[in-house]
Every structure is written in C-alpha cells, then in structure tokens.
Subunit: 187 residues, 2 copies
C-alpha cells in the first residue's frame, strides 16, 4: 500500500465524445502543454487500452461498461501514484462517467465533452468506421446503432469548430482555477 | 498516445511468493527507501487491486491468470508513464510471470521470489487464511489446494529469515547494477 501520508498531486482530464470528435487530438495538445511544464502526465488512450488491458472486451453495452470501469480503476491507481492522467475514450454512458468521477477527490475530475455533432464526425470519418457502421459491417457503433449520452454538466464543453489549442487552453484554465498542479519531474 | 520521444525511466520490481511470505512487508520497505530518494514509485498491491480493478475475479485458475494479466497490463501502462512500479502479488504461475516480463524492455523487470516455505507461512497465518483453507472453508488457496510454481531464475531470491531491510538492500543492488534509476519528483 502506498503511504497515505504522501499527498496525491494528481488529477484527471476525462474526454468524452463520439468517435472522430477530436478527443485524441485535443488530448495530445494538452499532454504536450503539460509536459512542456515538466508535469508528469500520462495520456491513457482508449484505443491503446483496447490492445492490452481490455483486449478481451468487445463493443456490446456490457463490454463498454466493463471497459470504462477498468479504465476508471486504472486511472484511479495512476492518480494515486501521483500522475496527472488524461483519458480519451468515447465513454458513451452517463452512469459510467459518473462512476468514474466518484472514484476521485472532489474537484480533481475534469470532464471534457468534445461536442462534435454526428454529421461532422461522420463526414470526417478518418478511420472509415462510420461508413462501415452505416453499411452494417460494423455493429454496436456509437451514434449509429449504439447510444451516446451527452454530459449534462461537463467542466468543459468543446464546441465544434474550436481549435485544439483553444480547447486545451480552456481546460488549463479550469485546472488553474481549481488550484490543481500536477507533480513535476526533474528535467 | 504518449510521446514516444520521451524516454521511459521506469522499471518493475515484481514480488512473487506464497500468501504470508512477506511480499508486502518487503515491498513497503523498498517503497520507503525509493521514496526517500524522491523516486516516483508506486506500490501496486495485489489485495488493493482485488478491491477495484479485479473485483469481478475470484480465485480459480482462470481467474488468477486473468488477474495477473490485468496487473501486468496496468504495470505496463504505469511504467510507460515513467513510474517505478512495485508489484506484490502471489502470481503463482510461471507462465503468467513470463508473460508479464515479456511486456517490458530487457533488464527492466526484476523478479523477486520471497521464498518462505509453506510451513513457515502457514505457522504465521496472520490473516487466518491457511487455517480456513485447511478446514475447507476457503477453496483454491495457493499452497494448499492450488499450486505455486517457484521461479527458476528470479533476479533476487529472498531466503526465509532474511530481514526486510536486507531484502530491500539486495534488490536495490540489482537496480544499481543495471543502471536503472527511476524518475525523481521535485521535492
């Protein structure tokens, strides 16, 4: 057990939104900004986790719930370890995101809704997944045949058309306003 | 995705051994020693993980394999994040420990066998678990009705009777001899 007398300086920035909304892009910009300040930050990418920890899970509702539960628990462990953790995962269900939030100290969970409309994300379709879903070759795809429950009160809402830089800046303002500072590494 | 140009300074110290062998005790001493040097270290305790990430798993052989797989993947993510990670888990199967080792760069996985004989661990029985297992109230207990496969070539073998301080010292010698240094936090 990690010594509870060591205060945790970590916090979580949790991105939610449709596939292709731009979550990973903004997450990467935010990560770079924090790293430039020597903050010890980790970008827990949903796709990366799917290749490792969650590789036994698919895309049914039950599997999505379990996937987000595991990501939440891993994030908890990492924040306990003193890291700033960025999560970029569709995380379509309100209850799953609330369960995640409940694992953390008040004020240390920053939910960011990358609110790109379905039409825009589908028009981009960088990975060709929407097309596959529309053609019925890909099942349980969020926004097509699996629901997305938008956050009711996210800490940050990124409107469509916002640049990744502006989105990262808005998040960093919330971080600063809450007095959160991540642990820094010696350069 | 975390920037791959940022070199990872992390490594893993993986304790294996019977229940009651003394894994957590030595892990706590090692953690304190590293923390005193401002090394950013996290002690991933098997029992703690059982209350969170792995709370859907029991103690059958299949569940033990899955438990160690998840702990391995979480450890990989944490080491990628630049942490030094200490794992204390019975991890009874050779194959599971090898699979864990294979996730890490050569030389960065230090396996420590806390080689306390069954008779000694059972005589201690601090949690009363051996008694429960002998009485048949607790099934699939390692060493009683579930096998323990001792490591063939661990980096460190802690013989019964070694003090926790001496064990931690032996591990730190291996760490030093391999030129491993964890990331340090600004005090």
């Amino acid at each position: 057990m990690t010594d509870p007398s060591v205060p945790s300086a970590g916090y979580v920035v949790w991105f939610t939104g449709l596939s292709g909304a731009g979550k990973s892009t903004i997450a990467a910009v935010l990560e770079a900004r924090l790293r430039a300040r020597d903050v010890l930050v980790y970008n827990l990418d949903g796709d990366d986790v799917r290749r490792g920890l969650n590789r036994d899970l698919g895309y049914t509702d039950d599997d999505r719930v379990e996937s987000i539960r595991r990501i939440s628990e891993v994030t908890r462990l990492m924040v306990n370890a003193g890291l700033v953790v960025i999560v970029a995962a569709i995380s379509p269900f309100r209850e799953g995101r609330q369960n995640a939030r409940d694992l953390f100290a008040p004020g240390t969970f920053i939910e960011v809704h990358v609110d790109t409309p379905l039409e825009v994300a589908e028009a981009r379709d960088t990975k060709g997944l929407y097309r596959a879903a529309r053609e019925g070759r890909l099942l349980n795809f969020t926004g097509i045949d699996s629901p997305y429950e938008a956050p009711l009160a996210p800490e940050v809402r990124v409107a469509s058309g916002t640049t990744p830089d502006a989105a990262a800046e808005a998040i960093l303002e919330v971080v600063a306003s809450r007095g959160l500072r991540g642990p820094t590494v010696r350069p």
